[in-house]
Amino acid sequence: MQSKNEAKEEIYFFALKLNCSKMIKFENITKIYPPNTVALEDISFEVKEKEFVSIVGRSGAGKTTLFKLLLAEEKPTKGRIFFDKEDVHKIRSGRLPTFRHKIGAVFQDYKLLPSKTTYGNIAYVLEVIGTPEKEIARNVPIVLELVGLSTKVNNLPAELSGGEKQRAAIARALIHRPEVILADEPTGNLDPYHTLDIVRLLLKINELGTTVILATHNKEIINSLGKRVITLEKGRVIRDEEKGRFIL
């Protein structure tokens, strides 16, 4: 067995290989769910390459909707979203997978594949992009070690606790070295010890050149980060500050 420090060192080199990130631009985005629930209203902001942006807001403020739109899971009612100068919602269905390979998403509800083990879930992302078997067998254990799930390799999601599922979801978002990481409440179910670990990990990845967009409720995290904070309220951006704080 590797020691934790050894594993982390390995992760460090692994993360060094991460790609540089591209720019994301939300342009007058409005999303209305039928019949008339306004989730987002005229949202415009840009996220630069290698930036670390936190999005804060009450439940229902529109954080998750924002991520869904960026992943092209849903279409905006009005406005456009650009990723690397490409209109996300004009990408044809057949090319969506290639686009999504550039993004690593941590979903609020984890979205782990219920029929696959922890290992299988993380390996799946690599299988999808055609990574050779050997490389998968080398990289998956490293990332699992990093998120502290080495002992749960062969467990199905149903056998994991909320926190463990969340860490598996984080591992899945990192494994294929995406250009951007979208993290929707990635620490919502974690104890303070693991929360700190995950935040450090996100910061490390960001330092090495990956754009990170983090949606969270966690006041302490935001205040300790000292990075850009966008505050959403009732579907609108009410504050967008460099080195922001958690104010609601």
Partner: protein, 302 residues
């Protein structure tokens, strides 16, 4: 590409073996469908065989008047043989007719006594005429009755057998039509049931399919394992129904041969083995693949 196919089949095999009950249910439905379709194939051929057989057995007999000289009868035979619609003409002399009758009924003393009582030979010389097609018998009968040798003829027994012959033919054509309609209905039913079984299986996976799309899996990467699962089920179903089918044919063959001595179902089965295997594989795999393709489409829109 090879890695992709390997992954797809491995993944398909894993889901196939993990969802044991579901796979068993799918295979069961597929076996029923394959079995049904193969039976219909065999039944159609068997009924075709029976119809041809019946048609071959239908004939008309022309009885000549008592004491018609043999050379006259033979002359008529020659003349009839030259008609292109006629397949075969067989001459049965008075003696032969009597011998056949005696041979057939020698154990029935009442008939034998009656024959002795009548004295001499009460049988008439006759010609047995077989045509290529049963529909031509009416025309042949008309021809015989207007020919220049009509005075030699005592009777043409087509009229006596006509209702039976016609009923057999209408029955045969009815059977044929019913068979086709039944095949279509049952085939459609089987496809619907299979489709629904697979659709339900995929419905259970709808959430998983959505997640796979979100983490960047292409449609083929998602669809692949389901198709592989369909193909695997199809192969298993084919092997199972092939064994059941051959067993049933082997078991039923002597029993059917008891009623229809010329009909050997097992031989029929072995002679058409490759066609049957092909039909079964095609049914099994196509049903699996088409059903899963249609059923999965809806969930791939994320």
């Amino acid at each position: 590409m090879f890695t992709l196919i390997k992954r797809i089949f491995r993944s398909g095999w894993i889901s196939f073996s993990r969802d044991g009950e579901l796979s068993a249910a799918t295979i069961f439905i597929l076996v029923m469908t394959i079995f049904l379709i193969s039976s219909l194939f065999l039944l159609r051929d068997v009924s075709q065989f029976l119809i041809t057989n019946l048609q071959e057995k239908a004939d008309i007999s022309v009885y000549f008047k008592k004491d018609t000289p043999e050379e006259d009868v033979l002359k008529v035979k020659e003349e009839i043989s030259s008609i292109p619609e006629i397949k075969e003409v067989q001459y049965v002399s008075e003696e032969e007719a009597k011998n056949t009758f005696v041979k057939k009924h020698e154990k029935e003393s009442a008939l034998m006594e009656a024959l002795t009582e009548v004295g001499g030979n009460p049988f008439l010389p006759s010609l047995n005429i077989t045509a290529f097609e049963a529909s031509q018998y009416t025309a042949i009968t008309n021809l015989l009755e207007t020919s220049n040798f009509k005075d030699l003829i005592e009777k043409v027994d087509y009229y006596q057998r006509k209702p039976i012959i016609e009923r057999i033919f209408s029955l045969a054509s009815l059977l044929d039509k019913t068979g086709i309609i039944l095949s279509i209905i049952l085939g459609l039913l089987a496809i619907l049931v299979t489709f629904n079984t697979i659709r339900l299986a995929i419905y259970n996976f709808r959430e998983e399919i959505g997640i796979q799309r979100l983490v960047g899996a292409s449609n083929w990467f998602i669809r692949g394992p389901f198709l592989a699962q369909g193909v695997i089920s199809g192969i298993f179903a084919t092997l199972i129904s092939l064994s059941i089918f051959s067993l049933v044919c082997w078991y039923l063959s002597p029993k059917i041969a008891f009623f229809f001595p010329d009909l050997n179902i097992f031989q029929f089965f072995t002679r058409n083995l490759w066609t049957i295997i092909l039909i079964q594989f095609a049914t099994g795999i196509l049903l699996g693949v088409i059903s899963s393709t249609i059923a999965i489409r809806k969930y791939l829109k994320v």
